[in-house]
Symmetry: C2
Subunit: 341 residues, 2 copies
Amino acid sequence: MIIDCHGHYTTEPKDLHRFRKEQVAAIKENKALPTKASLKISDDEIRESLEAAQLKFQRERGTDLTIFSPRASGMGHHVGNESVSMEWSQICNDLIHRVVKLYPENFVGVCQLPQSPGVPPKNSARELERCVNELGFIGCNLNPDPSGGSFNSPPLSDKWWYPFYEKMVELDVPAMIHVSGSCNPAQHTTGTYYINADTMAFMQLMMSDLFKDFPTLKLIIPHGGGAVPFHWGRYRGLALNNNRPPLDELMKNNIYFDTCVYHLPGIELLTKVVPIDNILFASEMVGAVKGLDPQTGQYFDDTKRYVDQVAWLSAEDKRKIFEGNTRKAFNRLKIKAPAKV
Amino acid sequence: MIIDCHGHYTTEPKDLHRFRKEQVAAIKENKALPTKASLKISDDEIRESLEAAQLKFQRERGTDLTIFSPRASGMGHHVGNESVSMEWSQICNDLIHRVVKLYPENFVGVCQLPQSPGVPPKNSARELERCVNELGFIGCNLNPDPSGGSFNSPPLSDKWWYPFYEKMVELDVPAMIHVSGSCNPAQHTTGTYYINADTMAFMQLMMSDLFKDFPTLKLIIPHGGGAVPFHWGRYRGLALNNNRPPLDELMKNNIYFDTCVYHLPGIELLTKVVPIDNILFASEMVGAVKGLDPQTGQYFDDTKRYVDQVAWLSAEDKRKIFEGNTRKAFNRLKIKAPAKV
């Protein structure tokens, strides 16, 4: 079984965009917000939006199941206030729930959180609980920088985040650490901001004893762990210089990187330096980088092809990357999509 | 000849630290600033500070010349105001000048700039001019984020920076894009902030026509180009998606990455994907990561060893990385250290 742990609903029906546009405009102009009831999205529209995109790619690339969440750049936690963020998150999460109900074999849900700048993360616990207990979701996307590009939140190791981690541990779900769209002109959303947030997250975790306090907490750093594998020697050295444990020990049962790295040499480096047990297959499709790579004639984000090509990965290594490790990180997968024996 | 294009004076005599400590404290407490005249650093102290460190490593590793600048994390552009930054920069640059005078065969100078948050970069042109024309320096370190961790400056492609680029072009010197110490607890200086600034710089340049306006402007992105080589496919794809030229064309005579990547697999990836003509040898010694790598028994920052080990690099490739490309980027090297025939 091949599980893609990082897919976003980036082909949403157009009425969702209409709603969000009106919501954002209403905030700017201090007018009445559009109502949730105004949203008109039919099951057929949802089917159409997926059949020609995510489902087509699943079939073509031979992947079975996508762990699916709302568009990351669309979370927009910096827009409006906490109640706006809550309404928008619930709408987006409910839409993911509809996707999963329509295609239970192809998708399993992960939620967006109603974060807002300066608002304690614990306020997101209720929506996480709703998504896990009522909608059957198996994880969440946690934004380490709800400001949209200033990196002015406390480090992920700060007690600020602890009440939310407590809820995650209680519900037995992991978080993917994922920022949203950048409102900072210095940081391009998919080219800079995403990658910088990943690198930042790793360093914050590396310098802390967070996992002593939460031994079963699981965090996924997407986009191959940002810059970390390329600078693996720097991080190994910094760990030593700061009396931190070796990186493989530090990551062991708590930190995972995904394979959203869009060329073979990158995936080769990732699988060469990062412990195989900490790598989760993912493509982020249909996501950050669209289209065909003229060098290969294949889609940039067809990351399965790269993993397949790595010469030194054994069949067992690949089984771990494609399925086994993801089952460890997302423990609730066993309910939604039991392993085939 | 082997030229290390990225070395900082990180072993400064202790009176420099005394001065800076007093300067920072005086700003905080709104007291009288220490005077420049109070600084007492003898030539012997300078010699001692280098003999057991940079010079020892040059000899041991077989490198000839280091392009040398003040400690990057010490620039502290966010501390105090423009006049504090000016005095501190001049002191640091004058000290580099003394180093170069004592060891003209081993070091050539690059300056720190008197940047300050919100202050137009053009105000740094005068100090650049002084360092180049009076002290014989061959380049500068340009901080893309004088705030110390908020990334709130305009992108490097913004007209905000143009008057400073005009001076660089006039003087025929390149800039290394290098932030200073982070005052943002979310961004660790050497583990996050440096690397994030590199990645940010590349994306800003990639999305702009800066080099159409300044065809001879040369910018060096240190630390191997941040996350860029690891995500080379992502950047190639984003360039295509945004109708930008291919990356090798975009970098051609304007953007260089250095080899401050502290493990062999990273250097292998760098030299596999980035055009050889755009890679400059550098070690950042004695810098970000100290000590021996237990996996190799060698210093993490002995990057020459990694370059030497890359199987597919020809003698000509290595000559370019170790000397030729650096001479192209730092055109004034030909005055300070003419190529040996």
